[in-house]
Symmetry: C2
DNA sequence: AACACCATTGCAAACGTTTGCATTAAGATC
DNA sequence: GATCTTAATGCAAACGTTTGCAATGGTGTT
């Protein structure tokens, strides 16, 4: 037999690298971590050697020793009752922004969902040393699980309605103000028979509805709540029914999300109701589609970028042992053609 | 000072649990892993005890010992040149489907992007024991990095164009067939002056364009390539320019993605070009928005669900040491109102 | 009664880091 | 020249699992 060529040579470990450099393992370790205890030139020599040999530290071993993972878990928390899915463009945008913010802080992102993580989030993620902290996207109805995790000492932050009182910090838009602004805008544009489409039982939407009601009260307009699941399909179906059964009894729609708005918009256009002439419509979120729809959708933009940054910062604060509080991030009115 | 109450008692470890159960650590370990070496009733007793005390195994230690992580890394591979962002609804849908498929196999999902992972994917993920394998979403132009990782022995699978020959398996839609089908559909509907919107330099889109050309050749129609970045903004701008400068010189558009199609659609509607009467338009992907647009967008649906399943399966095959090959997943024509 | 066998459990090593402490060498101070 | 200080490095323990092997006790066979 000829001598086999060792293609994928056995994994280099720190002690091997140290041997190569002619130093002890501890020196190598410190050198790679840029510990000033080690002479600068030694450090650089070892770092160069590591690059050359494509060495990388074994994260499992490091985590075991350090008792921390440098990982943040993100849980997409969907409620079982709603048809809102993980595919919801807005949720995914939030996740994507969180991903960036997490990386910027030198952490990695473990993507999870309420199904995979099971009941005991603290046990699974924290005790299980899979992550140092948890970000929950979507307050949902599962607040019991969140509360439990927080009580068990999980560093945790939630995207949701900041007004909700809880034993964990919540970051989210100023939904009340957003709802009010949207309503005032519709009214300013001349709408006087308003519809709110969405489900106020959901915390964030409840606040938007409160803002809506407040705006309605201040003006001389009528208002109606169309309680639907927050999907475009539900909105489409519901507007269709409304038009078929009652005719056009409204001239302004505040949709609780852009997806809902777009579903409604489609139904209106199919029935030749002119937007914005006959009906003005405003959404919430500012997803990518909002500006591509025709007419382009007026909406309340949620600043997910800033929010993601905030979520991560607050989590890091907790990781350093300190407490922190819920916080609202300002939303803004984006006027386009639909109003 | 009163005696403080120990709220979060120090982390329970396996040996503690074993002591509680009156067995050795090894027995406890085997019991939790349902090892039949251990008597059934002992196993159940220990498992119950673990539940009761909210015990969970330390993943870091386990990974160190086992030399495997039960984690799959997903890299969103965006090209620097394009403005296509991580927010692209289609990419996110793919990730979301992969997430589900990964979980179904009992793995966790580490979300990453080409920036965070750096140059040396093998070093970072595999040698670094952060993941057992890698799924790359988006073939991109960064094929060098992928190839390098594969060569280094990284278990890896790529979402992209399966026709590309590579040293790693690629899963993706039958883009040629999809492109051909789309084109034939446009022609069947009476279009005879066709536009292809997209950038054929991108592997997947190149195949779609080849399908397009093939369809065009077989029929008596004219065709033009509109080479644009694959964003709705670019499509919108490009159709606007086209109409302004040349007038309506086409009656059928094959957009390389739904986002592109929707951008084009908006420009057409703004200039009162009737869809589908004056211009028929078909997209690719079938993102959520396709059915909500007005008119609803005819498109080639990519079966991301099946593809995700396949990606994960192929990765697991590699993890078990076997080789596997690229594979196409069938796409399907979804006829809606835009054609 | 001696032996082999099986079912069940325990012992101890190993996985690859990081870090408190000890050690060394060299220069500074008296 | 003896002692102290400082800079640089090495030793060895610990992090919490998993698993090959040894050990135990009981049952069945000859």
């Amino acid at each position: 037999m000829s001598k086999g060529i060792c293609l994928a040579s056995t994994q280099l470990k720190l002690s091997d690298l140290a041997k190569l450099a002619g130093v002890s393992t501890s020196t190598a370790s410190r050198a790679l971590n840029d510990n000033p205890l080690i002479k600068k030139e030694t450090r650089e020599r070892i770092q160069a050697l590591a690059k050359e040999h494509h060495f990388s530290i074994n994260a499992a071993a490091s985590r075991l020793r350090m008792q921390k993972t440098k990982v943040i878990a993100v849980i997409i928390n969907l409620e079982a009752e709603t048809k809102q899915s993980v595919d919801d463009p807005f949720l995914l945008k939030v996740v994507s922004d969180i991903n960036r913010a997490v990386n910027r802080q030198g952490y990695e992102l473990l993507l999870s969902n309420s199904h995979m993580a099971g009941e005991d989030w603290h046990g699974y993620f924290i005790s299980g040393r899979r992550a140092d902290g948890v970000i929950v996207v979507g307050q949902g109805k599962e607040q019991a699980k969140i509360e439990l995790a927080a009580k068990a000492g999980t560093p945790i932050v939630v995207w949701g309605d900041p007004k909700t009182s809880a034993n964990y910090p919540i970051v989210g838009s100023d939904n009340f103000v957003g709802g009010l602004t949207a309503t005032e805008h519709l009214i300013a544009k001349g709408a006087s028979k308003l519809l709110f489409m969405g489900d106020p039982a959901h915390a964030e939407l409840g606040e938007r509805y409160r803002g809506f009601c407040h705006g309605v009260e201040k003006a001389d307009v009528t208002a109606k709540l169309v309680r639907i699941d927050i999907t475009s399909e539900a909105a489409y179906a519901s507007i269709n029914t409304l038009l078929r059964e009652n005719g056009l009894t409204f001239d302004g729609i505040f949709a609780c999300s852009d997806m809902v708005a777009l579903g409604a918009l489609k139904a209106l256009k199919e029935r030749y109701v002119s937007v914005p002439n006959d009906v003005k419509i405003i959404g919430f979120d500012d997803i990518a589609m909002a500006q591509i729809s025709f007419p382009a959708l007026t909406t309340i933009k949620q600043d997910t970028h800033a929010a993601a940054q905030l979520l991560v910062e607050k989590l890091l604060i907790q990781l350093s042992g300190k407490m922190c509080e819920s916080q609202e991030v300002p939303s803004s009115l984006l006027i386009r053609q639909s109003s």
